[in-house]
Symmetry: C2
Subunit: 322 residues, 2 copies
C-alpha cells in the first residue's frame, strides 16, 4: 500500500503519457446533438472503450510495467484482477517481454481467461475469495520475485489512467466539468490531478453506483469507509478506495454523485443507440449521473470518460423483443 | 435517372468534400490485433457508423442538398427512403434551411419516423409499395417544385459517399485493397472513383448478401440484372443497381463477393465484440467476405468501410443467453 501523503503531479502524468505512447491508442471523442439537447449541455465523450483491450486500464498497466527497471521487469509482474486490469497487465508485460502471472478465481468466465492467455499471461487459478487471490499472488511474488501491480493502489497505475484526461483536455480544452466513474479510485485520482493542473476552475465529479457507494460515503464522512458489500451491474466499480486514492479524491474531486441500477442500464442503452458504441455498465455510470439529474451541468461543457466496452452480448440487461 | 455514360471524377469528390466539411464528421479508423491475426492481413475499418445520423448516407445527402441553387433549395427536397437516406436528407435540408418532404410507408418503425420528424422532415405516409412511394414523391415534386434526391442514382449523392474513401486513404495511404458493401451502388461508385484515382493498383472489392446479389450477377453477366426479390438481414442492401451505378461498378470494381446470412450475423457479432462498436448488418457484409474466405487478401493492407450503426437493440440476431 502506498502512503496517503504522496500525491501525483501533472509531471508524473505527462511522463506516463510519453512512456506509454507507443503502446496505447489515442482514443477519439464522440458527441451527439441528441444527447446535448437531452442534457441541456455540451457533452463530449472520451471513448476508452475503443482503447486497447477495450478499457482505459491499458494505460495504467502499461505505465506501471514500463516504469520497472530491467532487472525487475525480467522477474515479471503479478496481479489478481480477473477483469480489464488483468488483461491490461498481461498485454503490457507481453509488450515489454516480461512474464505476467495472472491470478484468476476458479469459475472465471472462459472468455476472460482465454483473453489473458492469448495475451501471453500465465494463469494461476485459486479459490474465488479475495483472501485466496491475495495469498496466491503473494506466493508468486515470493517464489519469482515478480512485482505486484495493484489495479489502483499504485502511483504508476494512477498516473497512466490520468493520461486519458490529458488527451481529453487537449481535444476539448474548454471543458467546465469532467465526470469519471469511481471504483477503486485509480482513474479519478489521475484524471483529477491532470484536470485541476491544466484547467483552473474545472469541476471534477465522480460517479458511483448507489449499490457500491463507498466513495460517496467516505467523501461525505471525511474518512475512509470500506465497501463491505456491493450490489451493482457495474462490476468494474465493486472495489474499495485505498487510503491513497481517497486522499487524491479529497484533494481533486468536487462532488460525488450516486446513481440507481435502472439509471445505469438506461444510460448504457442510450449510449449504445445514440453514439453507436458498446460501453460496459461501469462506463455508463458517469452518463447516468447526468440523465438522473444528480448533478447541475446546465449550459456547461462537460467531458465524460467512457471507461470500457467489455460486455457479454449474450447477457444484455434489457429485455429481448420480438 | 442519370445517363450511364456520365462518370464521376476525383475532382467531383474533392469538391464534395469541401462542400460538406462543415456538416459531416471526419470519422475515425479502428483496427485490432485480434482481427488482423484472424484474417492474416492488416485491416483498417472506416467507422461511418460513427457518422452523423449513424451512417455514411449523411455525406451524399449533404452534398446533394448543398449543391442545389438558392431557388431550388427554397422549394425543398423530396425522398422516399424510410431508412438512413431519409434521415440524412431531412438533416441536410434542415441545415440548409430547406423544406424536406420525406415519403414513408404506413407501418414504418416508429423510431425511424420520430428521427425524421426530429430532424425537421415533413412526413407523408403512403401505402407500403414502391409504386405508391414513387407516385407520392412525384406528386410532391409536382405540387411543390421540390427536387427529388434519389438515394443512389444521383451523381451528387455518389460523390458525397466517395468522400469516405478520400479520408480513409488520407489516414491509411498504403492500402492494397478496399472493400465496401453494395446495395444500390452509390457508395461503391464514389469510393471506387476516389480510390482508383488516388492509388494506382488498389483493388476495389464489392460485397453483397447472397440473398440480394443483383450486383454480383450483373457484374458476371456484363449487363444489368434487376433485383426481383431480396432475402437478407442486411436491409440497407435490398436495392437494385441503376444503370449509372452499374457503369461505375464496371469501371472501378475488380471483384464482387457474396456472403451468406450466417456469415453476416457472425461478422457483425465479431465486430461488436472486438471493436466495441455497433454496426448494422449491412455494414458487416464487407467484413463477412473476409471471414468467409471469399476473397484473397493474405498479407495485404485492407480498408473496410463500415457503413452504419442503426440497429434495433430489441431485435438482435443472436440468441439471448442465461
Amino acid at each position: 500500500m502506498i502512503p496517503d501523503d504522496v500525491f501525483l503531479t501533472l509531471a508524473d502524468i505527462e511522463a506516463a503519457r510519453a512512456r506509454i505512447a507507443p503502446y496505447v491508442r489515442r482514443t477519439p471523442l464522440l458527441r451527439s446533438d441528441v444527447l446535448d439537447e437531452a442534457a441541456g449541455a455540451e457533452l463530449v465523450f472520451k471513448c476508452e472503450n475503443l482503447q486497447e483491450i477495450g478499457a482505459f486500464k491499458a494505460r495504467g498497466a502499461a505505465n506501471a510495467v514500463f516504469s520497472l527497471g530491467e532487472a525487475e521487469a525480467a522477474r515479471g509482474v503479478v496481479t489478481h484482477s480477473s477483469g480489464n486490469h488483468g488483461a491490461a497487465v498481461a498485454r503490457a508485460a507481453g509488450l515489454r517481454g516480461a512474464p505476467a502471472y495472472i491470478v484468476m478465481p476458479e469459475g472465471v468466465a472462459a472468455p476472460k481467461a482465454a483473453q489473458v492467455a492469448r495475451l501471453g499471461g500465465r494463469i494461476t487459478y485459486c479459490a474465488p475469495t479475495l483472501e485466496a487471490r491475495e495469498a496466491t499472488a503473494a506466493r508468486i511474488v515470493a517464489e519469482t520475485g515478480a512485482t505486484l501491480i495493484h489495479p489502483y493502489d499504485n502511483l504508476a497505475v494512477m498516473a497512466g489512467q490520468g493520461t486519458s484526461a490529458l488527451e481529453l483536455l487537449e481535444d476539448a480544452p474548454d471543458l467546465d466539468v469532467l465526470i469519471a466513474p469511481i471504483g477503486g479510485g485509480g482513474l479519478i485520482s489521475g484524471v483529477s490531478t491532470a484536470a485541476k493542473a491544466l484547467r483552473a476552475g474545472i469541476r471534477v465529479i465522480g460517479a458511483e453506483p448507489a449499490g457500491a457507494d463507498d466513495a460517496a460515503r467516505s467523501f461525505a464522512a471525511g474518512e475512509l469507509i470500506p465497501l463491505t458489500s456491493a450490489s451493482t451491474i457495474a462490476d468494474g466499480l465493486r472495489a474499495s478506495l485505498s487510503p491513497a486514492t481517497f486522499a487524491h479524491i479529497r484533494r481533486g474531486v468536487d462532488e460525488i454523485a450516486t446513481v440507481s441500477e435502472d439509471a445505469i442500464v438506461e444510460a448504457m442503452r442510450t449510449l449504445w443507440e445514440t453514439l453507436k458504441i458498446i460501453v460496459e455498465p461501469s462506463s455508463a455510470v458517469a452518463y447516468a449521473a447526468i440523465c438522473d439529474g444528480r448533478i447541475d451541468i446546465a449550459e456547461r461543457r462537460v467531458g465524460i470518460i467512457l471507461t470500457g466496452g467489455n460486455v457479454d452480448l449474450d447477457k444484455l440487461p434489457w429485455r429481448r423483443g420480438a
